[in-house]
Amino acid sequence: MSAVLLDHITKTYEEGKVIAADDVSLQVEAGELFGLIGPDGAGKTSLFRILTTLLLPDKGTAKVLGYDCNKEYREIRARIGYMPGRFSLYQDLTVKENLDFFATLFGSSIRENYDLIKDIYRQIEPFNNRRAGKLSGGMKQKLALCCALIHKPEVLFLDEPTTGVDAVSRKEFWEMLQQLKKQGITIVVSTPYMDEAVLCERIALMQAGKIMAIERPDTIISRFPDTLYAIKAKNIYGLLTELRKRKEIASCYPFGEYIHITLNAPASPEELEQALVRSGQEDVEIKKIRPTIEDSFIQLMNRANTEV
């Protein structure tokens, strides 16, 4: 039995005008750390809300731990933890009051499951008497995670837990998730940050309500269909404008200090380099590289757009 199952789920809003989920199917196995990767509007939150029994799909079947999301919501609610994208704890209760409240709701107590949350809780315990509304973003996030864990859920749903959080705190958060995974909790997490995708065991790349790929991150990368090159020159914006004009370039987009390109046959990187030098580009450097998840995402997005 899969921990999470979506079978041909479709969800629309505004009488079918807005499609949030378009025939989505996926399975998450027990103990897996699974990522839903995609930008705002991809449909991630709608899937979370269906799985956490807060929203009914138009079509399809959703199950969590074998229970039907439409009919057996009581069973599901007792066994899952959910951290919504928007901070949803009581702002005018203190850290400890929030935690006590959520523990009591599930017939548990802080003491009973202290072990599960202690690594995270210890970091906010010094602020036990501070109101949740007065916490910093990083601390709010930790408190919300503690509250989602306090009843020892079997499946944890985290909707964009790292959005708007700085690079250092993001790293720390992912380390916490790896620890939780070791305790056997199934984790479904969403993020718009492509670099976080590789920290998941399997991911679904989502765009406009559809899943474009669902695999292990390195499998997705290995399926990148073309040879990818990184190129740079002294004047990077000048290089970009020049590349866009050239017929031998199949795709071309800025990527950090480099520009990533794929070539149309029969062009070769050596010929391109020479041509660019002739056209006045200085310090041209071109090298073959391994794609990242973001390259794959862009490639899949462009393919989907041309197919439409």
Binding site: G38, P39, D40, G41, A42, L135, S136, G137, G138, M139, T163, G164, V165, D166, A167, V168, S169, K171, P192, Y193, M194, Q207, Y237, Y253, P254, F255, G256, E257, E294, F297, I298, M301, N302
Partner: protein
């Protein structure tokens, strides 16, 4: 000296005994893309609010577009554009109405608004959407429109506070094309971001830690200085030193 559009000298903002911004000093030149990075709580927002004329500093000096942050806040506001991830246009006004409204707020003459608005809508490829409510546009388009509106009155500087948060990777890059274009037209771009690859697109990058400017240079020089292969590493090395955990 005239090409310095932002100039800060030991700019400080204190709340009680907490130094949100602690003696920051830097200049930004005309047409520069200036990246302003820092962990949550480093003081970015406070510094930006001062530079936008929304908050008074406690001490130090700063001028923005040639105007003093203590005495000429209103002139600053007229000469800058501002856009954040959260800032949305009026969802229940149309594309055209939003442009007209914000153009009017910034005192652009009606005839100019009309002409520039038509051009802008066609440049953005929104001709068919011009009379539709902004609420119905996809997020990426909204952000592109919001940026265009922020520079509609041709400000000297545009402040962008995490403009690409949550946007898909293709649109994120199109957005940066618009930033490059604005900079090439002489608009200074002051931008914050959590995407470290975007730091590489900036001419120079500042990294704030605990209210202070801990690093300021071109991305290339910073990587050399910190012996790092990416800006992500540079940022991590610096931000990890922070002792402040506030937001």
């Amino acid at each position: 000296m005239t090409d310095k559009v932002i100039s800060c000298r030991e700019l400080t903002k204190r709340f009680g005994d907490f130094y949100a911004v602690d003696k920051i000093t830097f200049d930004v030149s005309k047409g520069e893309i200036f990246g302003f990075l820092g962990a949550n709580g480093a003081g970015k927002t406070t510094a930006m609010r001062i530079l936008c004329g929304l908050s008074f500093p406690t001490s130090g000096q700063a001028t923005v577009a040639g105007y003093d942050v203590y005495t000429q806040q209103e002139s600053i506001k007229k000469n800058i554009g501002y856009m954040s991830q959260k800032f949305s246009l009026y969802e229940n006004l149309t594309v055209e109405e939003n442009i007209t409204f914000f153009g009017g707020v910034y005192g652009v003459p009606a005839a100019t608004i009309k002409e520039r608005s038509r051009q802008l809508i066609s440049n953005l490829g929104l001709t068919n959407e011009a009379k539709k409510l902004v609420a119905g546009l996809p997020l990426g388009w909204k952000q592109k429109l919001a940026f265009s509106v922020a520079i509609f009155h041709e400000p000297k500087i545009v402040f962008l506070d995490e403009p690409t948060g949550g946007v898909d990777p293709v649109t994120r890059r199109q957005f940066w094309d618009m930033i490059y274009e604005a900079a090439a037209n002489g608009i200074t771009v002051f931008v914050t971001t959590h995407y470290m690859d975007e730091a590489e697109y900036c001419n120079r990058v500042t990294i704030m830690v605990d209210g202070k400017v801990e690093a300021l240079d071109t991305p290339g020089n910073l990587k050399q200085q910190f012996n790092a292969s990416s800006m992500d590493e540079v940022f991590y090395q610096l931000a990890r030193r922070a002792t402040r955990s506030a937001d």
